[in-house]
C-alpha cells in the first residue's frame, strides 16, 4: 500500500507562513551587534582597533563589558564625527579623478583575466591571552578564493597560518547561499565597474590610508521576499585597489559583513589547476556514561581516571560553590575507528545542577563557570583543533563571544566556560592541581 509520507509529515507540523525569518534577531542573539558597534568602520571614518590596539590587558578591572561598550560608543561617536568632518574636507578640497575615471582605473588595477583571486582577512573577534601578563593578541582568519565564473571556485582558509580547509569544486549553478557572496567582490565588483553601475560614494581615511569608497547594488531572491543590498568597497588611493568591503541594506551596515582585502587580482585561466577536492569525512563525537565524584574526597579516583592530577579552583571561586564533578566517557569516530577518551567536568554555579539526560548534569546558565579537562583536545569539549597548534602553554584562546576559553596547561587540555573574558582569564590564572593527599 502506497502512503503519502510528505502529507503525513505536513499534518504533523503546521506551516506557519505568518512567522517570518528574523535574521537581525539571530545576529543579536549571537552578540554580533554589540561587537560591530565597536568594530564597524564608517565609510569616511578611521577604523577603530588599529593593529596593536588589540594589545589590551584583560586583567584591567575597568571593566564590565557594559562599561567598555559605553566607553567604546562614546569614542566611536567622537571619532566618527571627526572622521566625517575630515572626509567632507577631503572630498571637497582634493583634486580627484572623475567618477568615471575612478571606475576605469579600479577595473584596470585588477586586470581582465578570467580567474579572480581574492585574499580576505577577517577579524575572528577571538584572542590569545598570555596567562602571566593578561595581554591579548587577536586571531585572524584568512580566506583566499579563486573564482572562475560558471566553472570553478576554490577556497583556502587559514587561521594564524594553519590551513583550516582547502576545497575546490565545480560551479554548475550558483545557489542561493552563495549568490550574494559571488555577486559581491568575487564577481559583482568587476561587473559593476565594467558596466558603470558602480558609483563613487565618498572619500576618506581608513586605518590611516586615504581611500575612495564606491558602491554597487544587487538583489537576492528568497521565499519571503527580495533582499536588496549594496556592497561598499574602500579603494586604496592612489592605486584604487580594494582594501575593505562591507554590505549595507536600506542604508544601514549589515553586522559581520566587513572584510579586509589584502590582495585582489585576476589571473589567466591556465595559471591555476583546479582539481576538485575529495569529500572530507565528518567527525562523529559523543558522550556516554558519567560518574559523579565528591570533592576533595575522590580526588585520587579522578586523578587515576584522567591519568593526571585534575585542575580545579577550590571549593568556591568568585563566590560560586563547586556544585559537582563528573567523569565523562567520550568517543570520536565511527564504529570501526572509534576512539574512547576520559574527560572530567567541574561545575561552579550559583544554582543547583539539573539532569539533562543519560545521567549528565547540566552546567550552563548565568553565574556559572564550567571546567572541562582531558588529556586530548576533544571536540566534545569544543576544542577548535586547527587552532590548537598555536596554543602554547601559558596561553589561553578566548573564543568568539568571549564565553569560552581554551588552555593547554600541566599536560591537560582545559576548556573553560564563563560569563566573559575577564572571568575566563581570572579562572585560567587560578587553576591549580588538586591535592591527592
Amino acid at each position: 500500500m502506497e502512503i503519502d509520507t510528505r502529507a503525513l509529515l505536513d499534518a504533523y507540523t503546521q506551516l506557519r507562513p505568518e512567522v517570518a525569518p528574523d535574521w537581525d534577531d539571530a545576529l543579536r542573539r549571537a552578540g554580533l551587534r554589540r561587537v560591530e558597534l565597536v568594530k564597524a568602520p564608517s565609510p569616511s571614518g578611521t577604523l577603530r582597533n588599529e593593529p596593536g590596539s588589540g594589545q589590551r590587558s584583560l586583567r584591567a578591572p575597568a571593566a564590565t563589558p557594559r562599561r567598555r561598550l559605553r566607553a567604546g560608543q562614546v569614542t566611536l561617536v567622537a571619532a566618527g564625527a571627526a572622521a566625517v568632518a575630515l572626509a567632507i574636507a577631503m572630498f571637497a578640497s582634493s583634486p580627484s579623478l572623475s567618477d568615471a575615471a575612478v571606475l576605469t582605473q579600479a577595473l584596470s588595477s585588477i586586470g581582465r583575466e578570467p580567474v579572480v583571486h581574492v585574499v580576505f582577512r577577517d577579524d575572528t573577534h577571538e584572542v590569545f591571552v598570555d596567562l602571566k601578563t593578561g595581554r591579548t593578541r587577536p586571531l585572524y582568519f584568512i580566506h583566499e578564493q579563486w573564482y572562475e565564473r560558471g566553472r570553478w571556485l576554490r577556497d583556502l582558509s587559514t587561521i594564524n597560518g594553519q590551513t583550516v580547509e582547502s576545497i575546490t569544486r565545480r560551479l554548475r549553478h550558483a545557489r542561493n547561499e552563495e549568490t550574494a557572496t559571488l555577486a559581491g567582490i568575487l564577481d559583482g565588483y568587476r561587473t559593476a565597474l565594467a558596466n558603470g553601475s558602480a558609483k563613487v560614494v565618498g572619500r576618506g581615511v581608513l586605518r590611516g590610508r586615504s581611500v575612495t569608497w564606491i558602491a554597487f547594488s544587487g538583489v537576492q531572491r528568497f521565499p519571503h521576499g527580495d533582499l536588496h543590498w549594496e556592497q561598499h568597497v574602500a579603494l586604496a588611493n592612489p592605486t584604487l585597489r580594494p582594501l575593505y568591503v562591507r554590505q549595507t541594506r536600506g542604508g544601514r551596515d549589515v553586522a559581520g559583513t566587513g572584510q579586509w582585502i589584502t590582495r585582489i587580482e585576476t589571473l589567466p585561466r591556465r595559471s591555476l589547476t583546479f582539481a576538485q577536492s575529495p569529500p572530507v569525512g565528518a567527525q562523529v563525537i559523543g558522550a556516554f556514561g558519567v560518574r559523579q565524584f565528591a570533592l576533595p574526597a575522590d580526588a585520587k579516583q579522578m586523578t587515576r581516571a584522567l591519568g593526571a592530577p585534575i585542575l580545579w579552583l577550590g571549593h568556591t571561586f568568585s563566590g560560586l560553590p563547586l556544585r559537582f564533578a563528573q567523569q565523562q566517557r567520550l568517543f570520536s569516530g565511527r564504529a570501526a575507528s572509534r576512539r574512547h577518551f576520559t574527560g572530567i567536568e567541574l561545575c561552579y554555579s550559583a544554582r543547583p545542577p539539573r539532569i539533562v539526560g543519560n545521567g549528565l548534569l547540566d552546567c550552563t546558565g548565568e553565574h556559572t563557570l564550567v571546567i572541562q579537562e582531558a588529556r586530548e583536545p576533544l571536540a566534545w569539549y569544543r576544542w577548535p583543533s586547527p587552532r590548537f597548534a598555536d596554543l602554547r602553554p601559558g596561553t589561553m584562546l578566548i573564543g568568539w563571544g568571549g564565553t569560552n576559553g581554551f588552555a593547554f596547561t600541566k599536560g591537560l587540555h582545559v576548556h573553560l566556560g564563563a560569563a566573559g573574558p575577564a572571568e575566563l582569564t581570572r579562572a585560567a590564572m587560578a587553576l591549580s592541581p588538586i591535592s591527592t593527599k
Binding site: 500500500m1 502512503i3 509520507t5 510528505r6 502529507a7 503525513l8 509529515l9 499534518a11 504533523y12 507540523t13 503546521q14 506551516l15 506557519r16 512567522v19 517570518a20 525569518p21 535574521w23 534577531d25 539571530a26 545576529l27 543579536r28 542573539r29 549571537a30 552578540g31 554580533l32 575572528t124 577571538e126 582568519f141 580566506h143 577556497d155 582558509s157 583550516v164 580547509e165 576545497i167 569544486r169 545557489r175 542561493n176 547561499e177 552563495e178 550574494a180 557572496t181 537576492q220 528568497f222 521565499p223 519571503h224 533582499l227 554590505q247 559581520g256 559583513t257 572530507v280 569525512g281 565528518a282 567527525q283 562523529v284 559523543g286 539533562v356 539526560g357 577548535p384 573564543g399 568568539w400
Partner: protein, 163 residues
C-alpha cells in the same frame, strides 16, 4: 519537492544567512516536530543560527554547510525540548492551530520513535541525502537507510490498521 543541494564549504555570514532565509520554514517545521511547540521551535531555530554565527570560524568543511546548519537546528531543538520538559514538569503542550490537522494523520507520525521521525523529516523536508542525515544524527548512513525503511513500514502498518 524542490531539490536544494548545497556544497557551500565556507561558513561566511552571507552563506549562513542565505541558508537561513532560503529554508527558514523547513528548519522551523523540523524543530517543531522535535519540540511540539511553535514558540519553542522558533526559539530553537534562532538559537541554532546564533550558535552557527558565533562558531562560523570553527566550521572546517568536514560536512556541507547545510548539513552543519541542520545539525545545529536539531541539537538546538533537542536542547529546547529538554529544557522545556524540566521547566514545565511534564506539562501537556497543546499546539494551537486555526486548521488543526487530522488527529489520525498526526497520531501516525507521533507514534514513531524519535529517530524514525527525525530521519523522515530530514529526508522529506531538509532534502538531505543519507550521508548528510547520518552526519546530522551522528549515525551511520546504513542506519539511516534502515531507519527510513522501518519508518515507512510502521506507517504502512498503521495506515492499514486505521478503519
Amino acid at each position: 519537492m524542490t531539490s536544494c543541494p548545497n556544497d557551500v564549504t565556507v561558513a561566511t555570514l552571507t552563506a549562513i544567512e542565505g541558508s537561513y532565509r532560503s529554508r527558514y520554514h523547513q528548519f522551523l517545521r523540523v524543530a517543531e516536530a522535535l519540540c511540539q511547540d511553535a514558540e519553542l521551535a522558533r526559539d530553537a531555530v534562532q538559537e541554532a543560527f546564533a550558535s552557527a554565527i558565533r562558531s562560523r570560524f570553527s566550521f572546517r568543511g568536514e560536512s556541507r554547510l547545510d548539513t552543519w546548519l541542520w545539525a545545529a537546528v536539531v541539537n538546538s531543538a533537542r536542547s529546547q525540548r529538554e529544557a522545556s520538559r524540566i521547566d514545565r514538569d511534564a506539562e501537556t503542550v497543546v499546539v494551537a492551530s486555526a486548521d488543526p490537522p487530522s488527529p489520525t494523520d498526526h497520531a501516525l507520525i507521533a507514534s514513531l520513535p524519535e529517530r524514525q521521525k527525525l530521519v523522515l523529516f530530514l529526508r522529506y523536508y531538509a532534502d538531505l541525502d543519507y550521508r548528510s542525515i547520518a552526519t546530522v544524527l551522528e549515525i551511520s548512513p546504513g542506519t539511516v537507510g534502515a531507519t527510513l525503511n522501518q519508518a515507512h513500514a510502521a506507517l504502512r502498518r498503521s495506515v492499514q490498521e486505521v478503519p
